[in-house]
Subunit: 233 residues, 2 copies
Amino acid sequence: MLKQSQLVERFLGRLDPEGMNAPLRLQFAAASRAVAVWRDQQARLDESCDQLVFLVSGSTKLVAHASQDREQVVAFHFEDDLVCVPARVRHAYKLVALRDANLVAMPYDKVIELGGRSPAILATLLQATRASLARCREKSIVLGRKAAPERVASLLVSMAGRVGNTDGKTVVLQLPMSRRDMADSLGITIETVSRQLTLLRERGMIETVGRSQIRILDLHALTQGAGFMTGAG
Amino acid sequence: MLKQSQLVERFLGRLDPEGMNAPLRLQFAAASRAVAVWRDQQARLDESCDQLVFLVSGSTKLVAHASQDREQVVAFHFEDDLVCVPARVRHAYKLVALRDANLVAMPYDKVIELGGRSPAILATLLQATRASLARCREKSIVLGRKAAPERVASLLVSMAGRVGNTDGKTVVLQLPMSRRDMADSLGITIETVSRQLTLLRERGMIETVGRSQIRILDLHALTQGAGFMTGAG
DNA sequence: GCGCTTCATTGATTCAGGTCAATGAATGGG
DNA sequence: CCCATTCATTGACCTGAATCAATGAAGCGC
């Protein structure tokens, strides 16, 4: 288990790889808070304002409550990700650990206040936010205009790019999320996820080992099945 | 019709309200391009890299091609918005004018290159990108977990917040987008949009005048119908 | 290593919204 | 001002995914 100070150090290094001056380091350290979150547990964050969260280790999901029992997984995060967890406005968001996670949190306003004069810090935040936006837009396309088979294929291709281990011609995914998480991310039910995975299995495009390992046997075909643009269009 | 130089001036003022120094102004002016785009026309932008677009006047939609004839409207934009139009990667994006628009475009990399040492410019971009991300996430919730009635209500409430004119107790919307645009934004068909608007009309929650004006008679009820969190949850 | 609990898979049925088709209202050009 | 064309609305029917229900497999504690 890493110490609080080590976690914060990593956070500061991520914000400004060049390294910030000592007084600023102290201010950031004072304003940030390192938290360990166990699997399936929700990070206890201040919901009254946006929070910047740095994921030192583990993996998390950002979940929005769409009233009652409906939940939408807005994003998955992995080691080294910078995440903005929105304050409760129209919907309530929560950050939940998929696997035991270490993270550092800080009110976003405070980050801007302290880092607002540092181009390096702002550039890091802008870069991270642009990446989040790009992924969120891709997700909107999937949720808005794709059928169930394409949705599941999209998730697998996306995960291949983020956490896939290439093993010869195949890609091995050790997915930290359950079928429910996948379903809540893709806007479908767990049954539909399961059925689609079965279809992909029958077609020889994937193999599954246990609940969390998926081996992609034909990434090209899977990418086709995800309905992405291929070459000219 | 505004002159090229005036459009660029507005862009620079939006990027850094404090005003940037003369050499930097010249560099930005040289790298940016003012474009007039007529209604229903696509802005001709370089698709090989992300473009930063400033909407001086008019309104636009950011559309993604989800293969063949399926289109997803990723976002709507109004006067003064800063938009990042993504390069063609997994999907092809295009920016289309809903009403005649004047915009200024510049490769995002170039913006970072020139403005990367200016905290004010980076702060503006970060702010705009965070707003886009917040809206995109809200859209993901709508697309992933909401039924047709809630989707249409969500759009109206969202538009009320962005372009609504309060007129006594009611909110008047002069919407620049067609039923098709709404449908492509909400991940449903034009027929379903039409049916839901009819239901809202029958329930006395809205009135419509012509094709583009909608008067919201009961914003509170509409917000309830959108499935947003209300108070404690 | 065995049983318990949770999670995933599979099957039967239902239903919201898509598709197809026709009618009706707006708007814009001549 | 009128007509033509596009856009919106309404209705009938169909389909893909949700729901309901049951079985089977993994993983965990003892």
